[in-house]
Assembly symmetry: D2
Homo-oligomer: 380 residues x 4
């Protein structure tokens, strides 16, 4: 199968997430990066393009130029990855969606609710696919957890505990020249949510993805512990789901000793599950009344859903990049499918799209509103 | 030092916690059990007394009889352990307090707020000590955690995450003849709180003990998932502490795969701590910006506060009974001290007493009130 | 049931293991310490006796005196605990065995092979029981492991991996006033084995206890890394068992980061087991071709053999002292049984006795001989 | 930097390791696969080539043909990956080395000692580089462990414990159609070593890589537990290193519950290290007398040597494929360096080459010889 021609917006030399997307796109050899608007600074864009081996005329100074030029080329890009700060997601995505170029976009969907609505419309109006990189859903044992819930292995779901602690904003590093911290604590670039937008959306998405539940309402208490910080860096959230399940979500960027402590625990009337991102090759399953099982990726007890997105045998850990690559490779399948005439929604399958993006924006909105009202309940 | 003569109320043949108290009282050889009102059924009380080697005339049919008779003996009991269901705590404690006999009482303090107030008065009116077995505070590394917070090793505390999941009420076993489940799910014997009273109070006590913080207000969402269950079996609580720290508390008795998953994580501006009851001989400490340390009981890095309540060298695990024994042995020290004329409050030292009991009752009340008001904030 | 009257040889104020034996004897309330020859220094013996609440006339200056005097009393001791350095085990045990007083003795059996043979004879000639405190066999999940092997849950045993690393002799602390280190590195008091005698015998005993296998031969490479140390502080041993199973045993006292890292892994044609002493409340079992199970003490999956020696519910850790107490309580049962006329061997049941002691001495002898012959095979 | 043109010998559709090499070569975008002799069956070779997107005329039926043809092309391959069963390593490598094409070859070096000698000569006679994929040396924290030993953080090394248990040969699956098992248990294709060759060499290589020690002699006891199995599936090895350090190595393919349990523990006079492949993003370091540290990849405490081969921030696990990719990317650097005139040995740096390969062959030979002589010492 020939590789999909890929462009990238953002992801220049000093960005972290751009490199992740590029590696993820290569792991299963389904994409070839051929164009980029890698920085909003033209010289930096050119230098980054050169470093990545792009042809000089395809290292663009702006995404608008890239969208227009590539759309006009016979060998123009088929898909674009958008890996910019949040406030650029919408204008960039729209430029490509409007031209029928498939979009793979970082989360959260947008910086503002207005942009989110506009994004929804842009996606609806386009024939191109829109894929949001809620990458943790690509881990094999997350797929298995979802399948087990769906199969009824846990019985009716009662309690969902999601958490995502980090510690990198313990000190006010946004005032000390840490670029990642600067834009993530800046409402103009990040939107209304700090930790809730950056990592809370991941935890919420994971909880919904695995359980298949829809959030009904939440009560949230947001804090900014970092001196002078303008966005939340810690959030405590109580969740109620449709159908009666209850949950808690904690996300923090000020919890020393935690790197990317995303963890999901799900409890039903017949069993429980426990999965943690930092050691993603094991899933703990307790059928109620029996000993807990350690299910390993590709090991005894691993399911079809997990094995389908695994690359190597058990005991050889697959990590974050492989989980991310699963999103990319599924995106490649979906793109080829719609190019072949398939129905877009069917083609997307388990891939997170505009709907997951809007759910995430709804989560941020509800957290911020609830906290502003002293943790009153807000409908999701 | 001669052993303290001890009596026991409750704790007959088929009770679990009575045996725990008896072992705990023996471990450091500071008590001798000489009398008991071990069951409210006189024949059972007599049989249990015989099995424990009590003299026949000191195996009483009621606590009232025991209090009266023992108080009149020259060699009467000096202290009594109360290990009954919650609703008996107050009348039993009062009978002994009024006669100057020291009381060691199970938590929560009482079944009702009225009893709690009355208990407060009974304690104030008595010269005897009142000790509440918040036994988890006896673990050596819990002592160390408290000392580290006090020393400022974590800086100003920001976030407190407490949880205590169990799974033994996943099914409605109270309808299947499980005695422990029967009274714990019965409002008449347990009081207004189910999981929040039984284990939530432990988690809350531990959080306050370690951090030295006082709870300011909370918002709680309580559920009863067990079919027909009359008390909560799962609770999600957001906490605000005096001074600005925030926290979450989750307790559950319907989370398959969890036995006694009490865990406390504390994060401050300069570091973080993580301790879990099921593996209590290790404490994880992260000075912000450095690698996480695994501190072991009596090992390198263990502090004076931990070592003072340890019995054996590192690598040989001390468990639940030893932690419980620390409460008993400290109680023995305190009793001998006040017998020698010491001030009661000074004698108690770190031992939980009436104040910790009232805090726990306040926690239960606030949880129940908040949940009844759709998780509104309630002052602690 | 009335308590057994117990004496103790060794275990004065500054000894570690004496206190362990005393706590272990009290946990299940089966013994009462009434006499002692707690130190070879008479004043220290008297002071220690007083601190422990012994009657002045039963705090003896020597074990010979205690044996003679107690044997003549109507209320004399029924059993004695010997907790001295190894070279005293035999003379002390003989003094009591010869008078029909039951002996509970620390391991290894003796300091020399000659003493071991003499001990064998003394036990054979006595009506009293001889019990060796291979205490790790008292852990509930060790009992379960043994039962599972016996039941055939692992199929035919193929591979046995035993290890017991410590780090307390990394530096030559025997020259720095550490009493425990002085006698344990002194051939006159410890015997021919250093680490192999002190902890290797525990690992070997555990391997044999769980698997039910008898060692056939071994090849050992012993080292002394501590400067000037006269006994081994690290040993690498290859094992061959009767029936074809193979194994390895590593013990070390110079492995920084290890406290009491006793661990046993057993692999058969149909499954594998993994247990570690520092977290003794869990046992990992893999039926070949299925997911690994985490079996917890008293939890789902715990067996009769484990539950029979457990005191408290799952999730509340029992530790080293409780495992040790199981040996003591089983000793009490055995003593009462033989006092009632039972056959001694039947009465001992799973308790380690002279045979386990001789096996341990054989292990030490074989290790030392093999290593002296450049790790040649030596029959066990 | 332009990509290196890569060919591959072996690695057709149903091989596992070929896919691993291809992903590893792509992760850092340093190679482009342009030719292959992917199977010894021509039709399968052609089909595999097509599936991988190779030009039809570059999907060769044999490695000889590929070597000859590619060497003659201006745009011929610059390097070749050899991922066949062991007995093909030498003839294939020689074909390319003789033509100046750089070779990246799977371990162990060859199936026979004769081939190993011949390989040594072929490498010496060629200007091309020879790189052996001892991929575990590419894990960031393995690099850090090596650096810490080199820095003296552990003091003089005393004890080295290496192990690599698996369970996939517990049953005689080589008779049940499992292709991987067939050739790995066949002396004609694997050579004299079974488990010792397949995984023992990895453990031995890792031990030497991290400690910088050279093996002096060993005593080995090899077994074949699988019914009718012709090569060892379990090996117990005692090691002596130059300079006095001692060690043990256990490898097994019949240990149920173990997937790829490669673990290395190193103890010196001043500290200890512990690393396990299945959770490779953490390294445990104990400075003697201090609490154990959990060092994480890219986290606080991670060293330059580790960070230099890391791609993503801490807490997002990198796995087996990334470690493997590090070998490939270093190979790319080395190839470009020698193409630019650098000295080959300098260019290789930490990359395993012919010398590591010969060490591994020496390890296999010594294990087999020692075991044949009843575990007598054999010089390495």
């Amino acid at each position: 199968m020939t590789r999909i021609r890929l462009g990238m917006v953002g992801g220049g030399n000093d960005a972290f997430i751009g490199g992740v997307h590029r590696i993820a796109s290569r792991i299963d050899d389904r994409f070839e990066l051929v164009a980029g608007a890698l920085s909003s600074t033209p010289e930096k864009a050119a230098a980054s393009g050169k470093a990545l081996g792009l042809a000089a005329d395809r290292a663009y100074g702006s995404f608008e130029e890239m969208a227009e030029t590539e759309a006009a080329r016979d060998d123009g890009i088929e898909a674009v990855s958008i890996v910019t700060p949040n406030h650029v997601h919408f204008p960039a995505a729209k430029a490509f969606l409007d031209r029928g170029i498939h979009v793979i976009c970082d989360k959260p969907l947008t910086a503002t609710q207005e942009d989110a609505e506009a994004m929804k419309k842009a996606v609806a109006d386009s024939k191109a696919l829109f894929i949001l990189t809620h990458n943790y859903t690509g881990y094999p044992l997350v797929r298995q957890a979802r399948q087990m819930v769906e199969n009824g292995d846990l019985g009716q779901i009662r309690v969902v505990q999601a958490e995502y602690p980090q510690d990198w904003l313990t000190d006010p590093v946004e005032t000390e020249g840490v670029k990642q911290a600067e834009w993530r604590t800046d409402p103009a670039r990040s939107g209304a949510g700090g930790a809730v937008g950056d990592i809370g959306t991941h935890a919420y998405n994971l909880a919904c993805f695995v359980t298949g539940l829809k959030g009904a309402e939440l009560a949230a208490d947001l804090q900014s512990f970092g001196a002078g910080r303008r966005l939340d860096d810690n959030a405590h959230v109580i969740l109620r789901f449709d159908g009666g399940a209850r949950g808690m979500l904690w996300c923090s960027q000020v919890a020393p000793g935690n790197e990317n402590g995303l963890r999901l625990r799900v409890y039903g009337a017949r069993g429980g599950l426990d999965w943690a991102q930092e050691n993603p090759n094991e899933l703990w399953f307790t059928p109620h009344g029996e000993a807990t099982r350690r299910i390993t990726r590709m090991g005894a007890g691993a399911s079809d859903a997990a094995n389908a997105v695994s690359r190597i045998p058990p005991g050889h850990p697959e990590g974050y990049l492989e989980g991310f690559a699963t999103i990319y490779s599924a995106a490649a399948d979906a793109i080829r499918a719609v190019q072949g005439g398939a129905d877009p929604d069917t083609a997307l399958g388990l891939l997170p799209g505009i709907s997951a993006g809007l759910d995430g924006m709804g989560f941020i909105r509800a957290c911020v509103e609830s906290s502003a009202q002293n943790a009153a309940w807000v409908t999701l």
